[in-house]
């Protein structure tokens, strides 16, 4: 019965999705409103049924697996030791620092002198132990440095 219901809902959604994708001029406004009202009512009926429904036979196992997968994805995504995280984090930090240094350099230009410490400051942000991705990106810093050396 559960499968039949899902198939029915899926079929309905496919048909209404196709209707929703039609050009606005072709779409019937009254029909659109009627579908919206009916879908809302159906969702409401489903929510009521959910309150008393039994969990599916495989539900617990499926959800546990799903949670494990989600947790794994999150961990790999936000692992502070992952290469990607280090790269993004480093670039974010570098962007903020470089902005501050450029502003400082502009101020110095107005006063007619440039202090070498800015170049030294930039070099501080280039990690000697950076991973390959960061090092590749560092080529960009050579260009920025040459700009400062103008």
């Amino acid at each position: 019965m559960s499968n039949e219901i899902y198939e029915k809902v899926e079929k309905l959604c496919q048909k209404i999705d196709a209707f929703a994708e039609k050009d606005f001029s072709v779409k019937n406004e009254i029909k659109t409103e009627a579908y919206i009202a009916k879908i809302k009512k159906l969702i409401n009926m489903i929510e009521k049924a959910e309150a008393t429904a039994q969990p599916g036979i495989l539900e617990t196992e499926d959800e546990t697996n799903e949670n494990v997968i989600n947790k794994d994805v999150l961990e790999s995504k936000y692992n502070p030791y992952s290469e990607d995280f280090c790269y993004k984090d480093r670039l974010k930090q570098l962007n903020g620092n470089i902005y501050r240094l450029i502003q400082e350099l502009k101020e110095q230009d107005k006063e007619g002198y440039r202090n070498a410490y800015i170049i030294n400051e930039i070099e501080k942000y280039i990690p000697s132990t950076a991973n390959i991705k960061v090092r590749e990106k560092m080529n960009l810093w050579q260009k920025i440095k040459s700009f400062f050396k103008k």
């Binding site: 019965m1 559960s2 499968n3 219901i5 899902y6 029915k8 809902v9 899926e10 079929k11 309905l12 959604c13 048909k15 209404i16 999705d17 929703a20 994708e21 029909k31 659109t32 579908y35 919206i36 009916k38 879908i39 809302k40 009512k41 159906l42 969702i43 009926m45 489903i46 929510e47 009521k48 049924a49 959910e50 008393t52 429904a53 039994q54 969990p55 599916g56 036979i57 495989l58 539900e59 499926d62």
Partner: protein, 42 residues
Amino acid sequence: MEEIIFEDYNIKFTEEELKQADKKTLKKSKKILQETLTKLVN
């Protein structure tokens, strides 16, 4: 007994049949209906 009919597509849902479905099916069904609703509203 509540029921809802989509005449254009000849599809009907009754409160009784929804009550016979398991939680997971209802959850999945609700999710795709919400996605369709979003498409209609936008």
